[in-house]
Amino acid sequence: MRTLLSFLLLALASAVAAISTSGNRLLVVLDDVADKATYSKFFADLEEREFKITYETPKSDSLTLFNLGERTYDHVLFLPVRTKGLGPNLTPKTLHDFVNAKGNILLALSANTTTPTSLVALLSELDITLPTDRNSLVVDHFNYDITSATDKHDVLLLPPPKPIRAGIKDFFSEGAGTKLIAFPRGVGAVLGNGQLLNPILRAPRTAYSYNPKEQAEAVNGDDLFAAGQQLSLVSTMQARNNARVTVVGSAEMLQDKWFDASVTKLDGQPVVQTFNREFAKRVSGWTFQEIGVLKVNWVEHHLEEEGAPNDSNPEMYRVKNNVSYTISLSEFAWDHWIGFNVPEHDEIQLEFSMLSPFHRLNLKEESHRLAAVHYHTVFTTPDQHGIFNFMVNYKRPFLSHIEEKNTVPVRHMAHNEWPRSYVISGAWPWIAGLGSTVVGFLGFVALWMYSAPVDAGKKVTVKKTQ
């Protein structure tokens, strides 16, 4: 009875605590608590996903990201603040340490407020470049909302973003239908060339960023920050330790009035709903490690030769052995683990490598379990001895990194593992020589011991000529 009760409690506890894979302590940094009301639906969605939200202003004394060397929060959400700096508790170095300690950051910027220098410094270190003049706005004279931005064209309407390349998993546009994302009064960023940076939402081809104070009349050649798809409206960086930093260019797109609003695009359908609520849920879900998180459950390899023992993960292999490799992968989907299905046009690859890969093989899906998918392949170890690694290095945009390395020595052929000489047809003359030598020797022994001399007493007469 007791054990049953404790099991029930354990199940209940794990069900309740089963949200983000990296904790549920969320810190929201905003200017004053009155701002909470404008984002009430967004915060209500977060609380429904069981985040424990703490609201703080940047200069408050009780705001510390670290306590005794450990993070006090798992995620931080920055809303636009009107102060120039973020105070001594949120220095760029503290934020940098926070990301190094696997904390996730979601930054929301706005064209109406200057971004604090700490955040600009943090972003420039991640190679996300914001416009240097601190009041920049993204406008588009072709894709704007007629109902709310007829004159200023600063509310962009964009279709939910499809993956940029084939093979990337589509997290952000599934199920959108005809809904559009409204991007009101936002800031565009330019991303560096690193492979850890990925834009979620890029500006349309005709959009551009300008400074309303200085470039109100026209945008000149030298002063253009960026235009078109080089402008990234929602940018992400996933660090090598899987910490995620997302920059949402427009904090206003997270506000209540743009969740489920009705907008009209120029030359578009008359009235369309905005996709902002679902998009905000997915962007925050990705940043706070609720989706796109992968896990390796186990790795198993064994010898796949007939007549040989096939115990799992042996200590050593030999050259030219058939080896079977299986890896089990799971993906976290909002609140529970499911099996991970590789996106179409993409492959998980196993590298069997010493200094460079000798084999790079696509793993095939072998079987499904309730919360895992097994990927499997069979190959032959190369005819080179040495210390090899089974390496599955699966890093893709918007998915956490998988690097599984198992080291295994590959030995030479042993002296008794070569084919026998009687099997080798070129050796037959030599074996015949062996046999004939043996037979000749035995015949000689018998002959020597048991033969009588020929004509022992016969004298050979030699005729002398004289």
């Binding site: 004279h141 072709f142 007829t150 004159d151 064209h153 390349r165 093979g167 060339n193 690193g194 492979q195 081809r205 005709t206 551009y208 300008y210 009349e217 026209a218 945008v219 000149n220 050649g221 235009a227 078109g228 798809q229 120029l266 008359p270 030219k320 993409d346 690859q349 000798f358 084999h359 790079r360 093989l361 696509n362 032959t380 190369p382 005819d383 890093k395 945009p397 047809s425 070129g426 050796a427 037959w428 003359p429 074996i431 015949a432 004939s436 043996v438 000749g440 020797f441 035995l442 015949g443 022994v445 018998a446 002959l447 011991m449 048991y450 033969s451 009588a452 001399p453 020929v454 004509d455």
Partner: protein, 283 residues
């Protein structure tokens, strides 16, 4: 309420359709570094150029146009020439410098273009984008193609695509070829040639007078020793055969030792008997 809203929207749409941006008096000229304008061609919103414009390594393309709103020359907020590379879809904007009168000009040379454009195999597509705030409809029309003419003397600029995570090509290790034997016919022929020496040897011995005449005498004199001696020599060959087929060194060594001892012990007696026949003059 709904009806009036719809009517308003329609009216707004109609009003927008009425006022729009356009450009006029547009021309493109390609000038070499030193010298006057070599080629000058006109184009307009409705008639883009049909032939691509060549841009050499020292040439400068100059695009001139007048931006107009509803037919009146005006300065727009956005006046770009966007050049797009067809292979990758990369697009670069070149803002026109616009005066208050609406006259806009921009000069583009090869050094202004991103390096990916210079390496593109297909011509680049250029469009003019003119737009501004307010209700006037903006315009985005393709106007001409640019063909990059690279200088054959200077090497092409190098461009390394940045690393992007994705699947890599498969590698299958190519194994060294297995050692091969010559055709079995040849092996059989030579094996038989070697094996044929044995009967040749025996026949030549017979012709020279080989015999086993003393066998009965030897067996009569020392039967056990002779049988054991000859038997142990055959047994030693048997041990070597077992070593060749299945046994390992540690299995044959004791057996070979035992057989060797038997050979020595029986051999003294057997060979002693042979010696006695020799001393008796029979050998």
């Amino acid at each position: 309420m709904r009806l009036t809203q719809a009517i308003l929207l329609l009216a707004a749409g109609a009003a927008q359709a009425a006022s729009s941006w356009s450009f006029d008096d547009a021309s493109i000229s390609v000038a070499a570094k030193k010298g006057s304008d070599a080629i000058k061609e006109k184009f307009s919103q409705k008639t883009p150029l049909t032939k691509p414009v060549g841009l050499g390594s020292t040439d400068t393309v100059k695009i001139i146009l007048t931006a107009k709103e509803d037919g009146k020359a005006k300065r727009p907020h956005q006046a770009f020439v966007t050049i797009k590379e067809q292979e990758t879809g990369l697009e670069a904007p070149f803002p026109l410098t616009v005066k208050d009168t609406g006259k806009a000009v921009v000069q583009i040379s090869q050094k202004d273009l991103p390096v990916q454009f210079l390496l593109s195999p297909k011509p680049l597509k250029a469009s003019v984008v003119i737009g501004s705030f307010g209700e006037a409809r903006a315009v985005n029309t393709p106007v001409f193609d640019i063909e990059i003419q690279t200088d054959p003397n200077t090497p092409l600029p190098k461009y390394e695509a940045p690393i992007r995570y994705g699947k890599k090509p498969e590698i299958h290790h190519i194994f060294r070829p297995d050692p091969q034997s010559p055709p079995k016919v040849i092996s059989l022929f030579f094996a038989l040639a070697v094996a044929a020496t044995v009967p040749a040897l025996f026949i030549s011995w017979l012709l020279l007078g080989a015999n086993l005449n003393h066998l009965t005498k030897a067996l009569g004199a020392a039967p056990l020793s002779h049988i054991t001696f000859f038997g142990s020599i055959v047994a030693m060959e048997g041990v070597f055969f077992m070593y060749y087929t299945s046994w390992n060194l540690f299995q044959i060594l004791p057996v070979a030792g035992v057989v060797g001892i038997v050979t020595v012990l029986s051999g003294t007696k057997a060979l002693g008997e042979v010696q006695s026949r020799r001393l008796a003059g029979e050998r």
